[in-house]
């Protein structure tokens, strides 16, 4: 019982990319594609965002705390608006 709970604790719940702490890599668990417009979704896929890809938050806010976020997707650094980062579910890497 205790053992299985430990395992559950070791596999954290998916959180939103917008909430991922800085510089703590995570893995994309899923994306709310319907929360994004069609061109946004397409461009996001074209920038390599997909389940299983490693992401990392580099900066939460561009300007006075309300701007876009900068994150790493795979090997690329990408700037995203907040609502896009909020549509991406991430499991923090253990």
């Amino acid at each position: 019982m205790t053992r299985s709970m430990n395992i559950a604790a070791a596999i954290p719940h998916p959180i939103r990319l917008a909430q991922l702490p800085r510089l703590k890599p995570g893995t994309v668990a899923g994306v709310d594609w319907h929360a994004l417009s069609e061109p946004e979704g397409r461009r996001l896929r074209e920038l390599g965002l997909d389940e299983g890809v490693e992401v990392e938050m580099l900066h939460h806010s561009g300007f006075l705390g309300r701007g876009p976020v900068a994150c790493r997707i795979g090997r690329m650094t990408v700037a995203l608006r907040r609502h896009v980062a909020a549509a991406i579910h991430v499991s923090p890497n253990p």
């Binding site: 946004e40 397409r42 580099l58 900066h59 561009g62 300007f63 900068a70 690329m76 700037a79």
Partner: protein, 618 residues
């Protein structure tokens, strides 16, 4: 007749296509470290090792064959043979960034599926090495089933092999195998791309992540904006501070030339034309070459380092508040150099209304052609004193004029987005390139090209308008001993006196009224025109900027000067800007709108400035 085979360079944005194009053809296409540098197709010629000619096409970067902006559309249209006046390419060189295979191979796979003969240039292998990445090009060749050649475009490495393999590929050009067609499912391609990338990666050591370390400062919510503002401020101070000495040299050269011609030629029409017209007019403009080069130098370095996208990131919040996105910041910043390439660069903006708004406000960014006008007025009428150590009042006023243009642009965008260009706001999603050390050769080449353009303008359009103006100012001559001013008696003087009625309410005198018309041909002519007006009036003076300065002090009041500066902040730009706006918006409607709204804005702003300054007793 057998045409030379057509080969297209295709790939993700910023993969190094233009750098490779330049290396292969000897062309000088613009190269810069941000996505979206190339927005049009460019053709060039190269020779294969066996001497056969090939026509090479440099295309805008794209992420896939589903275009989301006008520049990407050019690439797609060329590749499917839908571009007007262009045949289908006989082969493709796809350029991929070796340090980002996971992403770039996806487009490569899509291109391979097109079925055209194709060869992969595995570019930027030097950057991959810097990142501690060891790749196996042969394995990649096996996985993809097409030739792969490692290259470093900027150091011309791997080009011979690339040409050899290209020779093999285009040899069998007439046996094109039809491919399975365009593969649209991005996710499937992306997963396959990642598999291949993993398979061909031999080893990967922890990278020295310079880019991340620099970004920790450059993108930080506090230090980022401070750095951006600081950079902009230094740029404008430098335009003044660093240019003093070289301007002095050019001035003495012009004075020497004017003196020599004045001594060598007898008093008469030819001497007046050369000394008062050409040297006083064109000379007054050429003097500004150092300042323009300093400004361009800064922009070129920012573009080459990769900082542009960081600036766009920092500006997105502000741009969003007026209905634009950070993406628009890049065309707007390049409009500081010149609005024409700036307006072209809006092709990277996907949303049509967003793009139109950016085009309409681009002329409010102070282009380098306005710099001579600002400088000469500021130099003449704003006292040269330091406010803080290293911060001069003159530099500060110049900075304020730039800021005013920016504020004007933002307000205009806000209003336009709620009225004529209403529509959904487009998002902001952009790849940030790795930082790179600017390459001295590229920067110098860019400066050289700029100097060439500037001097060519000075030698053609500026010279021509100056000579025409000189003629209109010199004839007819007032009767001897009548005491009437030469200028007042001339055709131009009469036109100027007539026009003055229109501009007197905003504080402009006759000389300004005269300068405004030729300034539409090229902004700098305003300076040349004023130079010529005073030179014709006082032919005894030596030509050169110093004279203009003294004349300005004698004839202009501070409110007039401020109103004039304000006019130049807002007034519609030169003919070329209007022409490019027509081309990019497919018609006269938007350029006509742009010109009218800017005229009204300029008139009102100049008027308010003049009367406030008068009321304040300046």
């Amino acid at each position: 007749m057998n045409q030379a085979p057509l080969v297209a360079l295709v790939g993700n944005p910023n993969a190094g296509k233009s750098a490779l194009f330049n290396a292969l053809t000897g062309a000088r296409q613009k190269v810069g470290n941000y996505p979206g540098v190339t927005v049009e197709r460019h053709a060039g010629r190269m020779a294969l090792p066996d001497g056969r000619p090939v026509e090479l096409l440099d295309l805008p970067g794209a992420y896939s064959l589903d275009p989301s902006s006008p520049d990407e559309q050019v690439t797609r249209d060329v590749l499917v043979g839908r571009q007007a006046g262009e045949r289908l390419p006989d082969a493709i060189i796809t350029v991929v960034d070796a340090s980002n295979l996971d992403n770039h191979l996806r487009f490569t796979l899509q291109l391979i599926a097109l079925g055209l003969p194709i060869i992969v240039a595995l570019n930027m292998v030097d950057l991959a090495e810097r990142d501690g990445l060891v790749l196996d090009p042969e394995a990649l060749e096996r996985e993809l089933g097409v030739p792969v050649v490692p290259t470093v475009a900027v150091r011309k490495r791997g080009l011979e092999t690339l040409k050899d393999r290209l020779g093999d590929v285009v040899r069998n050009v007439h046996t094109v195998r039809p491919g399975p067609g365009v593969q649209h499912d991005i996710v499937v391609l992306q997963r396959r791309a990642r598999q291949i990338a993993t398979a061909v990666t031999v080893s990967e050591t922890a990278a020295r992540r310079w880019t991340h370390r620099l970004d920790a400062i450059a993108l930080h919510p506090v230090s980022g904006p401070v750095l951006l503002l600081g950079l902009m401020f230094v740029m404008f101070q430098a335009v003044f501070a660093w240019s003093e000495a070289p301007i002095g040299w050019i001035e003495s050269l012009m004075a020497m030339l004017g003196g020599a011609i004045g001594d060598a030629l007898p008093q008469g029409v030819l001497r007046s034309l050369l000394v008062d017209g050409v040297i006083a007019g064109v000379g007054a403009v050429v003097v500004f070459l150092p300042q323009i080069l300093i400004l361009f130098g800064f922009i070129l370095v920012l573009e080459a380092t990769g900082y542009m996208v960081r600036a766009a990131f920092l500006m997105d919040r502000v741009m969003a508040s007026v209905g634009l996105s950070g993406r628009a910041f890049i065309p707007l910043l390049s409009s500081f150099a010149c609005a024409v390439p700036g307006i072209m660069a809006t092709r990277t903006i996907s949303d049509e209304k967003d793009r139109l708004t950016t085009i309409l406000i681009a002329p409010l960014m102070t282009c380098s052609a306005r710099l001579p006008v600002y400088t000469i007025i500021i130099g003449a009428l704003i006292p040269d004193r330091a406010i803080l150590p290293g911060v001069g009042l003159q530099g500060l006023v110049l900075f304020a004029l730039y800021v005013l243009g920016i504020i004007g642009a933002f307000v205009a965008a806000l209003v336009l987005r709620r009225t004529v260009t209403k529509g959904a706001t487009s998002g902001f999603m952009m790849e940030m390139p790795k930082y790179q050390m600017p390459r001295l050769r590229d920067v110098l080449l860019g400066l050289w090209q700029r100097a060439e353009i500037f001097l060519k303008r000075a030698g053609t359009i500026i010279l021509l308008t100056t000579v025409v103006l000189w003629a209109l100012l010199s004839f007819p001559k007032p009767p001897e001993g009548s005491g009437i001013s030469k200028v007042d008696y001339s055709i131009a003087g009469r036109i100027g006196n007539g026009l003055q009625v229109l501009v007197a309410p905003i504080g402009f005198n006759r000389d300004i009224a005269l300068a405004l018309i030729p300034a539409m041909a090229a902004r700098e002519v305003a300076v040349a025109a004023i130079g010529t007006v005073y030179a014709v009036d006082n032919p005894e003076d030596a030509a050169g900027e110093a004279t203009i300065r003294e004349n300005l002090r004698a004839h202009w009041t501070l409110p007039t000067a401020l109103a004039f500066l304000m006019w130049f902040v807002f007034a519609p730009q030169c003919i070329s800007t209007i022409a490019v706006t027509r081309r990019e918006t497919n018609g006269w409607k938007w350029p006509a709108f742009m010109v009218s709204y800017l005229f009204v804005l300029a008139y009102v702003a100049a008027g308010i400035t003049y009367w406030s300054a008068v009321a304040l007793g300046l």
